[in-house]
């Protein structure tokens, strides 16, 4: 059951839902672009992997989720955090390593989390998330609360044993789990067309007894529809789904990557495929929203990011008292 969905209209969204989706995508984009600039300015330490270009995936999927549901993310986790409702200001502060950060500065970009929001953490280990999400799905299944677990992972991670084992486990335990393979064409510099032995990652679904579907990851509506079906099936006890989302990342693998391995596909994508542009064009053409509403969101978001950066920069760093805490609940 592998197929490609074209941009659907089936699942109607209210204007408020559309505004919300747009706000999420715009927030991710603005957050990432600002982090890109700040990193270039030398203010942000460590490894930073940006999600710009991929916003429709996190947003399209998480728009179906609520407090019962959990997600596991990757090293490229900012977008998943924002889409699952993690606050932007503590996120920004975390990236700066500040005490006011989501993780009090102990985690950084690769480990932003907010368990109170069902956001199980960005993850520095490729393939680290899928097993954990099986567990969240299991907890919901045992409790019968209708919750689902969603594991986001990349094309590179689709070759990791931990991911593949999780697909099998999810099926045989009939877990309410959704596996979202975010295929941006590369794992670092390596092409997914080489590293994944099948044409599409979704082809692997059949090998683990679950439905697989491919969606255009620049199209919020396509992701939204595919995720909606998968979430509904999972909530109803119908088991897991593998969704492959295809798109391009706009920046390097991590900040500092010179990207010699690719051509100018990014310029093309930004110009012609961009999820925000397409969303805007569609909802305004349909008359569902007007441009001014979206512009207001853009302005709100810009202001929020500006504040977030200013506050992050001004915030205190953790100090000697914080070094030894938080290892155990008690020891």
């Amino acid at each position: 059951m592998t197929g490609t969905l074209s941009s659907p209209t089936a699942q109607e969204l209210t204007p408020d839902e559309l505004l919300e989706a747009y706000r999420t995508m715009r927030t991710i984009r603005a957050f990432e672009e600002r982090v890109h600039d700040e990193f270039a300015g030398g203010d942000i330490p460590g490894f930073v992997h940006l999600y710009a270009g991929e916003e429709a995936s996190a947003t399209g999927v998480c728009s179906h989720l609520d407090d019962r549901d959990a997600i596991a993310s990757t090293h490229r986790g900012h977008g998943h955090c924002i889409a699952k409702g993690v606050e932007v200001k503590p996120m920004m502060a975390e990236i700066y390593g500040k005490l006011t950060g989501s993780c009090h500065g102990k985690g950084g970009s690769m480990h932003i989390a907010d368990l109170s929001k069902g956001m199980l953490g960005a993850n520095g280990i490729v393939g680290g998330g899928p097993p954990l999400i099986c567990g969240r799905a299991l907890a919901s299944q045992k409790r019968g609360d209708g919750g689902v677990g969603v594991a986001f992972f990349g094309d590179g991670a689709s070759n990791q044993g931990t991911t593949l084992e999780s697909l099998n486990l999810a099926t045989i335990w009939n877990l309410p789990a959704i596996f979202v393979a975010e295929n941006n064409g590369y794992a670092e510099a390596t092409s997914s067309s080489w590293s994944v032995a099948t044409d599409d990652i979704a082809d692997r679904a059949a090998a683990f007894g679950m439905p697989g579907v491919i969606v255009d990851g620049f199209d919020f509506f396509a992701v939204h529809e595919a995720a909606g079906e998968a979430v509904a099936r999972a909530r109803a006890g119908g088991g897991p789904t593998l969704i492959e989302v295809k798109f391009t990342r706009y920046y390097g693998h991590f900040e500092g990557d010179q990207q010699l391995y690719r051509a100018d596909e990014v310029a093309h994508a930004r110009e012609n495929l961009d999820c925000l542009k397409r969303f805007r064009a569609r909802v305004t053409a349909d008359g569902q929203l007007d441009a001014a509403q979206l512009d207001r969101i853009d302005a709100d978001v810009a202001a929020l990011i500006e504040e977030a950066v200013a506050e992050a920069k001004a915030a205190p760093k953790p100090g000697a008292d914080d070094l030894l805490t938080d290892v155990y609940v008690s020891y």
């Binding site: 989501s102 109170s116 280990i125 680290g128 299991l138 931990t162 999780s166 486990l169 290892v327």
Partner: protein
């Protein structure tokens, strides 16, 4: 109170009592039921050595078999722990850690710290360790030093049925990830175990025998070996204390230091391979913290720097025995500068 049961039974009882008390406790592992999908009986195995036998009958919704996918199901237990359950997951042999260690040491162990204190991961990883069963290099390791090395993990290694029950109950109630290491050669050993539920606090060593001349610290099955050696030594007029730390992380260093302050001599017995071992860990901490009291070289009694051999003749040489412990004690006692 005078009821005698085996180490295996004590573990089973601990799990059963906690499952009855707290419905968030679930059990999973390869053949922890045994027979899923198969034409014969369910609960056909109850784990490879029968430790979880019978739990499925009492709690059919909460005891689960798994495929041979340790990363996925150990990871699932960890994920479920962050989601409000209290899983007791079995890594059948500790030697299999290599196919799933990431979920244990980079995920479970680090969540709380990485996430700024905002995660709670109450998972228990039951696992079988130790040499002696002629199970050869990939089924006989200790590896406790590796787990003890990792901040964020707790490590319990009961040496007798009473401790096994009490430490496992504590492990299940504990809010941190716990490696619960069951020594495979102890399953059939017996001891007095109260029927009622009780939890033994972590980080409290048990002084199994008092003695003035030397302090022997021993782990797991080596506690019995050390006690045997101490008996032997008593015959030669040497009075040896035997301490069982019960948990290697947290480690009750204070109790050990107190004893060494008196005896002035330390022997550490650990069947693990020697390098970066528990023996060296405890030895070095004492050499730092109680140096002034030391009257003799610290004696490290461990397995050799080799894999565990298959042949019984070799495996018996690999594992420290009472005579090696006694010899180490004598070296310490006889030592003069």
């Amino acid at each position: 109170m005078a009821r005698t049961i085996t180490y295996r039974e004590a573990i089973n009882e601990a799990i059963a009592q906690e499952m009855a008390r707290d419905e968030r406790v679930i059990v999973m592992g390869e053949d922890n039921v045994g027979g899923t999908g198969s034409p014969g009986e369910m609960d056909a195995w109850g784990g490879v050595l029968g430790v979880t036998k019978g739990l499925y009958g009492r709690f059919p919704d909460r005891v689960m078999d798994t495929p041979i996918s340790e990363s996925a199901f150990v990871g699932a237990a960890i994920g479920a722990a962050t989601g409000g359950l209290r899983p007791v997951v079995e890594l059948m042999f500790i030697d299999f850690m290599g196919v799933c260690f990431d979920q244990i040491f980079n995920q479970a162990a680090k969540f709380r710290y990485m996430f700024g204190g905002r995660a709670v991961t109450p998972v228990v990883i039951r696992t079988m360790w130790g040499a002696g069963l002629r199970a050869a290099a990939q089924h006989s390791q200790s590896l406790l030093p590796v787990f003890t090395h990792i901040p964020g993990l707790k490590v319990a290694a009961p040496s007798n049925p009473y401790d096994a029950k009490g430490l496992l109950i504590q492990a299940i109630r504990d809010d941190d990830p716990v490696i619960f290491a069951e020594h495979k050669m102890l399953y059939d050993t017996s001891g007095d175990v109260p029927e009622d539920s009780y939890a033994l606090p972590f980080g409290e060593a048990d002084v199994r025998r008092e003695g003035d001349d030397v302090t022997i610290v021993a782990i797991g099955r080596m506690v019995g070996t050390a006690l045997e050696a101490a008996d032997e030594l008593a015959g030669s007029g040497i009075s040896a204390a035997v301490v069982d730390p019960r948990t290697t992380s947290p480690l009750d260093l204070d109790t050990i230091l107190e004893l060494v302050e008196d005896s002035g001599r330390l022997v550490v017995v650990d069947e693990s391979n020697p390098r970066c071992s528990l023996a060296s860990d405890i030895g070095a901490q004492v050499a730092q913290e109680a140096f002034g009291a030391l009257r003799a070289p610290i004696q490290l009694v461990t397995g050799p720097h080799t894999p565990v051999p298959f042949a019984d003749s070799l495996e018996d040489l690999f594992i420290p025995d009472a005579s090696r412990v006694a010899a180490a004690v004598k070296t310490a006692v006889d030592w003069t500068k």
